[in-house]
């Protein structure tokens, strides 16, 4: 496909320890033009492995996950892939979460059935990562 205005789909990896959340986000992003889900993970370690294997444009990362949590996963991702977009996706965002993610320049999105805030944050994260 070619032509003015063409933009390839943003390829994303999603990490969440809740299988139903993964299934929902997979379905929602698949229905939304401009996105392609290329990998799913259930903890931070798997997310990094998927990122290494698929080299997505961005990773959506839940924070509270067993084994390797999202905080550790995001730190590992930013070290290994500084040009990759990252968005923290979480049920709660207290002071620690906001400060920690703020210091890493990672946008936090609260979990919602409405995909728009997350999709828009993913787009911003890709542009932000590309600018650095």
């Amino acid at each position: 496909m070619s032509g003015q205005g063409y933009r390839p789909d943003l390829r994303i990896v999603i990490a969440d320890d809740e299988p139903d959340v993964l299934a929902l986000l997979d379905a929602q992003f698949s229905m939304r033009p401009g996105f392609e889900v290329v990998g799913l993970a259930t903890n931070g370690e798997e997310a990094v492995e998927e990122a290494r294997a698929k080299l997505p444009d961005a990773v959506v990362m839940d924070l509270l996950m067993p084994d390797v949590n999202g905080f550790e996963g995001i730190a590992a991702l930013q070290e290994a892939f500084p040009a990759m977009g990252v968005v923290a996706y979480t049920g709660v965002a207290g002071t620690f979460v906001r400060e920690e993610m703020g210091s890493r320049n990672v946008e936090v999105v609260l979990k919602s059935g409405n995909l728009n805030p997350l999709a828009e944050a993913v787009e911003r994260s890709v542009h932000s990562a590309a600018a650095h």
Partner: protein, 220 residues
């Protein structure tokens, strides 16, 4: 069991906000999102895994709301109906579908609402299943018009704090929110329902490690 201290209360309240936020937001947002996926034209018959997820999360949401209401011990939310004779051994067996890992000593029946006993015993067994080792030994005896049940669950030696706060809402011991879903209300709900049925529920550290949960109810 020592009472909750002032510092504990503040900590538990903060914990409550975090746990409620995480555990309620996830199924609520999943129900909304999946509903909108189907409303957008996806056929549930072609995506049965999403339809199952919708039902599962709706049920989870309902269960969480029910636990929250019960744990507050506000009487309109507590079970209604008449008490009847409830066989305790039968409820223990029903609540432990695993083939092994359970030993029952004695027998007895309580006079209580069946739904309450089912939830009390289910919560105690869930707790033993999640935190304890095998076998779980359940001893039942009747004395002086009261039926006493002890759930002896071996496990690691628990910090005093874990035992002291085990029945407090949102306390989940050393298991972080990340380890398993749930509000951490199971034993709180069990305690409230035991009180509601004219009995009581308490815990103590098990010699050698683990937890013993005691349930006392009016005998049938």
């Amino acid at each position: 069991m020592a009472p909750v201290k002032n510092g504990d209360r503040e900590w538990l309240e903060q914990r409550a906000l975090n746990v409620i936020g995480h555990e309620l937001r996830t199924p609520a947002s999943t129900v909304r999102g999946l509903s909108e996926v189907f409303a957008a034209g996806v056929d549930p018959a072609e995506r049965p895994e999403l339809a199952d997820a919708l039902v599962r999360n709706a049920r989870r949401l309902e269960g969480l709301v029910d636990d929250l209401l019960t744990a507050t011990a506000v009487w309109p939310a507590l079970p209604v109906g008449n008490a009847s004779r409830v066989d305790l051994v039968g409820h223990v067996v029903l609540g432990w579908p695993e083939r092994d890992g359970l030993s029952i000593d004695g027998a007895g029946a309580a006079r209580a609402r069946t739904s309450s006993i089912s939830r009390i015993i289910g919560a105690v067994l869930d707790n033993a299943r999640a935190y304890g080792k095998r076998p779980l030994t359940v001893s039942i005896a009747t004395r002086g018009g009261r039926v006493q049940t002890a759930f002896d669950s071996p496990g690691p030696v628990l910090p005093d704090e874990d035992v002291r706060l085990a029945l407090e809402p949102f306390w989940r011991g050393e298991r972080a929110v990340t380890s398993s879903p749930g509000l951490g209300l199971g034993l709180t709900v069990a305690r409230v329902l035991a009180d509601h049925e004219g009995g009581r529920l308490w815990v103590e550290a098990r010699p050698g490690g683990g937890l013993v949960t005691h349930l006392e109810l009016p005998a049938a």
